[in-house]
């Protein structure tokens, strides 16, 4: 009897261990690669960036280090609402508490409960987050019941990947190398959507604004300076009005809001857009990184770092420059010649 019970328990235990191994085997490795340096304990960051793909594509931490020596990580995620960014920040602060948190406000008008269609994109971040109670709390707070399991145990959605391997249709969920420190370099040019700048403000309260306030409070609890930022893109007027209204929150909460739409001559949508609707290509990203770097450097003040930390960043920088040269500057030359 005792032997039979031991047999049953052993079988179940082995089965669960096997499932955990399979989970690791089928997990997409690209998200882990993207956040490889973030979830390692042996680095520290002065600045963390939060928000959507706009900030993910517009700020290159390696460029910030190259120009200003700022050590930062970009935690922007595709189609991430501010409600989700709040939890991203909560998870991030468990690993690194920076001096400054830069929050992209592009999705101040979006609601998490209306974002079901874009939830699968969150795998680009959550696949890399190690299991913890904070992660479990996040998953239960953000995602609908039928989509929770896949974030806690990705085998639920990835066990069918054998089919992609056999058919050769496997594609990454994000295109990012570890040396980009969370940012994505999207090379290409696109004719932008028509853009008309407006100063109008839509002060309606949204879940995004509520989440933004929560993020500011979370920063303060952790002694982090919050900086709100509006990344420029050919946004429709209604979206601009909503983003403009963040100035009211910034005033109320006494935090800085850098609305880059208002910085004249910073971005030329005709040359700096990767796709028609929004995202910036390396030209645009380098300009935004430079502008933000100037501001952040003053806010951070004097900084020192260990020798091995510098060596680490130098390695990232070399790889970044190599990629920038091959993927962008060499492509750009014939493009500019055509112009």
């Amino acid at each position: 009897m005792k032997a039979k019970i031991i047999y049953l328990v052993s079988w179940m235990t082995l089965f669960i261990v096997g499932l955990i191994c399979l989970n690791g085997f089928f997990l997409r490795k690209d998200a882990q690669m993207k956040y490889e340096h973030f979830f390692e304990a042996d680095h520290s960051y002065d600045v963390l960036f939060f928000g959507t793909s706009h900030v993910m594509d517009a700020v290159y931490p390696t460029e910030l280090y190259k120009q200003y020596g700022i050590r930062s990580y970009n935690l922007g995620n595709p189609a991430e609402t501010l409600e989700a960014s709040y939890y991203t920040m909560k998870i991030a602060f468990k690993y690194h508490v920076p001096k400054i948190a830069v929050i992209d406000v592009a999705y101040v008008d979006k609601r998490q409960d209306e974002s079901r269609g874009t939830i699968p994109l969150s795998h680009a971040f959550y696949d890399a987050v190690p299991f913890s109670m904070t992660k479990a709390e996040t998953v239960f707070s953000l995602f609908p019941p039928d989509m929770r399991a896949e974030f806690l145990f990705p085998l639920v959605s990835y066990h069918m990947r054998w089919e992609e391997w056999v058919m050769g249709t496997d594609s990454p969920v994000c295109e990012c190398e570890p040396y980009m420190m969370g940012a994505e370099m999207r090379t290409g040019h696109a004719e932008p959507d028509p853009f008309v700048r407006t100063d109008r403000m839509n002060t309606d309260e949204t879940p995004g604004k509520k989440a933004l306030r929560s993020m500011i409070h979370l920063c303060r609890e952790n002694h982090v300076i919050p900086v709100l930022v509006g990344i420029p893109f050919p946004a429709p007027e209604e979206k601009q009005a909503m983003m403009n209204s963040v100035a009211v929150i910034a005033r109320e909460e006494d935090v800085c809001f850098l609305n880059l739409f208002d910085v004249s001559g910073l971005i030329d949508f005709k040359t700096d857009c990767y796709d028609a609707a929004s995202h910036l290509n390396p030209d645009g990203a380098i300009k935004v990184s430079a502008y933000l770097g100037e501001y952040l450097k003053e806010l951070i003040g004097e900084q020192t770092s260990a020798k091995d930390e510098d060596a680490f960043w130098q390695r990232q920088m070399r790889q970044y420059q190599e990629t920038l040269k091959h993927m962008w500057l060499e492509q750009l030359l014939p493009h500019k010649e055509r112009e």
Binding site: L14, S157, H159, M160, E163, M167
Partner: protein
């Protein structure tokens, strides 16, 4: 909670551990609590409806059991049977309609339901109604004594492995098992889990994969070729078997883990040599229910040939109606009735010498009837038949389904054939492991379980089809 939901196995495991840990007298109470929770998770309406049915059957059974007057007994049986059938008939009649309900009523009928088109019925209503009705009629006919412990009776009706899609339990075999004190049964648990694994294989590997093709073709029948439609009908024949047998295996296996035996529901039906033989092997719990409660009381074959044919036809028309209200279900039932009458008239069971020919003939007849079962209208079924006759062009597999899916379907069907072939000869597929050491048996099961995890259709990348019989 469906058997295919991610929560079912952890739920089963948790209840199972508790079941074998608590003292024997408390086990039934635990089963009742688990069954109530399971029903509530399907929808509070399901729980309410099942409890109502059980309540009527319990009171009716007690009343009939105490009654000595035969006429009064009969009147009571009719009244209580009718009362029990009212909810099911109500939902049957409303099925397919979208009535303008007042808000409060619409709210009552909005969650945890299943059904066709507009109006939804509580999950498993036909099954728990027939379980309760069967008990009442068994008491009336004196086959069993009325159960006087309401808790035991409620556990019998709500018992979660059979609640939503059977096998339809009979009081005679199950009521006694509910109160039996059982010793820890290792072999029962091992066999139960083997059955559950095989059930998941048939459902998630075979049935749900075939469903991708069948659903696509039946949704686009008007632009599908004859080959595609023919293949879809044949594959549906496999799908419905894999789906329902898969469900039954999970149900029977789950019950087995608790030391409770449920009636077998399938016995290699597609190896039947005649349609009559098919019905001795297909959905056995329902077929025996109809035989005991309708066919035999109507006179069966005791009142002459004409009456026998009428009884057969009537039973199968009722069976069609039990499955759904549309004309298609009546045609399906009617066809099976007519097939059997023809078999009796032509004496095919004694004439057919070649078993393989008989099996293929039966399979073709059954597959033809499944077309009406699957089609959403009679006109659609007729149009599909006309199209099959006129448009034999192109390749049947050109629907955008990946070659890997087809390969998995073929492997799945071959494995099912192997399993059924073994069972037909009274052997088990895993018999070769019986004399091997315990770790070899464990390893074989483990490999099968991991193959299922990797190659079955489950999880969020794929929305599992709910069990076909869940809607009945």
């Amino acid at each position: 909670m469906l058997f295919t939901s991610l929560t079912y196995l952890p739920f089963l495991l948790a209840i199972l551990i508790l079941y074998w840990l608590v003292p024997a007298p408390r086990r039934r109470v635990l089963l009742l609590a688990a069954s109530i929770l399971f029903a509530a998770m399907l929808g509070i309406q399901c729980l309410a409806c099942a409890a109502l049915c059980a309540g009527i059957a319990y009171i009716g059974g007690r009343w009939i059991g105490k009654c000595d007057n035969q006429i009064r007994k009969r009147s009571l049986a009719i009244c209580f049977s009718f009362a029990m059938l009212v909810p099911m008939l109500f939902f049957r009649m409303m099925s397919g309609h979208s009535p303008a309900l007042p808000d409060w009523l619409a709210g009552l009928f909005s969650g945890g339901m299943t059904g066709q088109n507009g109006f939804l019925a509580p999950a498993g209503i036909s099954f728990f109604t027939f379980t309760s009705l069967g008990y009442l009629l068994d008491v009336y006919h004196g086959r069993i004594k009325a159960e006087n412990r309401p808790g035991v009776f409620l556990t019998f009706v709500l018992f979660f492995p059979h609640l939503t899609s059977g096998p339809i339990a009979r009081g005679e075999s199950l009521l006694g098992q509910m109160t039996e004190e059982k010793a820890f049964d290792f072999e029962g648990i091992r066999d139960g889990f083997s059955m559950i694994l095989l059930g998941y294989f048939e459902k998630l590997w075979v049935a749900d994969r075939i469903a991708l093709y069948v659903n696509f073709i039946f949704e686009h029948w008007y632009e599908s070729t004859g080959w595609q439609l023919l293949l879809a009908i044949l594959l549906y024949t496999v799908q419905i078997y894999a789906d329902f047998n898969g469900y039954s295996l999970i149900a029977i296996g789950s019950a087995r883990c608790f030391g409770i035996s449920l009636q077998d529901n399938f016995r290699q039906p597609y190896l039947a040599v005649s349609v009559r033989d098919f019905w001795k092997r297909w959905h056995i719990s329902l077929t025996t229910w109809f035989r005991d409660e309708i066919y035999i009381p109507l006179g069966g074959s005791r009142k002459g040939n004409i009456r026998r044919y009428i009884n057969i036809l009537l039973v199968f028309l009722i069976s069609g109606y039990w499955h759904g209200t549309g004309l298609t279900f009546l045609v399906w039932g009617g066809l099976h009735g007519l097939y059997q009458i023809a078999e009796i008239l032509l004496d095919t069971e004694n004439r057919g010498k070649n078993r393989y020919f008989c099996r293929i003939r039966t399979l073709v007849l059954v597959a033809f009837a499944w077309l009406f079962f699957r089609a959403t209208s009679f006109q659609m079924a007729v149009q599909i038949l006309l199209r099959i006759g006129t448009r034999f062009i192109g390749s049947p597999v050109s629907t955008g389904m990946l070659p890997t899916q087809w390969a998995a379907i073929v492997i799945g069907i071959l494995f099912m054939l192997l399993v059924d072939g073994f069972h037909e000869q009274g052997k088990r597929v895993l018999a070769f492991t019986d004399r091997k050491p315990w770790f070899v048996r464990g390893a074989v099961m483990m490999v099968f379980a991991f193959l299922l995890v990797i190659f079955s259709l489950w999880g969020s990348g794929y929305q599992s089809n709910s069990f076909i019989y869940f809607q009945f």
